[in-house]
């Protein structure tokens, strides 16, 4: 299995490394081909994160020596099937709208009595530093495979999140005057040779994108969640480091989920 993963990673890396236009189109083809093959859990390294997440879900930790198995992700305590498809959503116990990462941190604190400082410090995995969050999100999101995004927008706080998310999406700031919409509102556009998905309205781009996160990123050899993708886009925008699991990121996720309504989830996917 390790060998297969390494071989897959190499092919993708080489394909992506090329810079001429034809090579890019070839590499996109190549990646499509690999994407089809990679749904095989034996070949997609993202499934290593799923396995890790499954173990962490049932691992007793914290001052209460409890597992996360009674954590309520919105569908009832311990119920994982379909939970991700309806996140972010409002939770009465915390009186907040939360995305999966925020909710997991809440459960670690309340259910397990776990000091989450270390978990947050390891929020983004790196060589020699495994991320509990990336594992847990991969595991839980995978339990919504085949289901469709169903954004929850009944509670006033959920509605506020959507409106705030849209405002953040078009909010220009910083030395390059960038907003998300600078790069993600022109259908069929590219930055250099990279295709830019359009999230400015409900689009196929949005459905396909949101349906494919979390994802195993070959260029980083890590399974990444939307928290990391937005961290990376804010970096490109020359904005400051966005706060992990902040309401701002959740608001953007609510907005993105709304634009992706009905998009089918199939994760962890694999991307460059």
């Amino acid at each position: 299995m390790k060998g297969l993963i390494a071989a897959t990673a190499m092919v993708l890396t080489f394909a992506v490394g090329a810079s001429a236009q034809n090579a890019q189109i070839d590499s996109e083809k190549e990646i499509e081909r690999y994407r089809a093959m990679i749904n095989d859990p034996m070949a997609n390294p993202g499934y290593l994160a799923v396995d890790r997440g499954e173990q962490l879900w049932s691992l007793a930790r914290g001052t209460k020596n409890a597992s996360l198995e009674t954590c309520d992700l919105g569908e009832g305590p311990g119920k994982l099937e379909g939970a991700y498809a309806k996140l972010p959503r409002y939770f009465a116990d915390s009186d907040r709208v939360m995305d999966l990462e925020q909710r997991l941190l809440w459960c670690m604190d309340k259910v397990q009595g776990l000091d989450t400082k270390d978990v947050v410090a390891r929020r983004f995995g790196a060589p020699g530093r495994e991320s509990d969050m990336e594992g847990l999100v991969a595991f839980i999101a995978n339990k919504s495979n085949g289901m469709k995004y169903e954004p929850q927008l009944n509670h006033p706080k959920e509605k506020e999140m959507l409106a705030a998310g849209e405002a953040l999406f078009v909010r220009r700031a910083g030395q390059l005057d960038f907003s998300c919409s600078t790069c993600h509102a022109v259908p069929g556009s590219r930055i250099r040779l990279q295709g830019l998905p359009d999230f400015s309205k409900p689009t196929k781009d949005a459905r396909e994108t949101m349906g494919s996160w979390p994802t195993y990123r070959v260029s980083q050899s890590q399974t990444r969640t939307m928290q990391h993708r937005l961290w990376d886009c804010y970096r490109q925008m020359r904005h400051p480091v966005p706060e992990y699991a902040s309401d701002g990121i959740t608001a953007l996720s609510v907005y993105m989920a709304k634009m992706a309504e009905g998009g089918e989830i199939n994760v962890p996917s694999i991307k460059r």
């Binding site: 849209e166 700031a173 998905p197």
Partner: protein, 208 residues
């Protein structure tokens, strides 16, 4: 990521897209104080210098809340304000070194939170514009600038207008999505002169 077909469609419709208005989404139905609260949550722990650099000026505020569709009156106020803020070189010479301008156009480094403060800052013009026939890796958010100087007959007043455009894109078009490179201090005056030379020198690959 795009499928191959979508990428090709993108290439074919390049000319139309380049001039299409950037966004059509409906205006956000939320008050400014609420948005500020979310913004504060995003940058809760950043150093003051970053916070200041990321505080919106009047132009950014208007372009944000109007989704880059300012009213005529707002647009006029913006172009007037931004034009007044353009600082031309003291000696009036707007043409630098096109070879160094090529670096400015090609490189997209600098200014990210993962960069060192002294990392070279590039204008990354190729991210959004086609500029020369040789470079195939270019983006489509802006119009093609192929043969830009040649098409303007290499006129000195056109070069001067282009200096102003790169220094502050909104001095000519309110809420343009092109960065105001000189105004915000992202590029130096010298780098902007080099970029103008890249567009206006007869020997530059842009015009050959």
């Amino acid at each position: 990521m795009k499928t191959v077909r979508e990428t090709l469609t993108g290439l074919a419709s390049l000319a139309i897209l380049a001039f299409a208005s950037p966004v059509q989404a409906q205006q956000p139905q939320v008050d400014a104080a609420t948005v500020d609260r979310y913004v504060a949550s995003l940058w809760a722990k950043v150093p003051d210098a970053w916070r200041q650099r990321n505080t919106q000026d009047e132009t950014q505020k208007i372009c944000s809340v109007t989704n880059n569709q300012p009213t005529d009156a707002q647009a006029k106020a913006i172009t007037a304000r931004e034009l007044a803020a353009v600082k031309f070189p003291a000696d009036g010479k707007v043409l630098g070194d096109w070879k160094k301008g090529q670096q400015v156009a090609q490189r997209g480094s600098g200014g990210q939170f993962s960069d060192q403060p002294d990392t070279y800052r590039g204008g990354n013009c190729y991210a959004c514009h086609q500029l020369s026939r040789q470079e195939l890796s270019y983006g489509t958010l802006g119009p093609s600038l192929l043969e830009y100087g040649k098409l303007k007959d290499f006129k000195p007043e056109e070069a001067k207008a282009t200096f102003a455009k790169i220094y502050n894109a909104q001095s000519q078009l309110a809420c343009s999505t092109m960065p105001r490179f000189g105004h915000t201090g992202f590029l130096t005056e010298e780098q902007i002169k080099d970029a103008v030379a890249y567009l206006f020198d007869k020997d530059s690959p842009v015009n050959r």
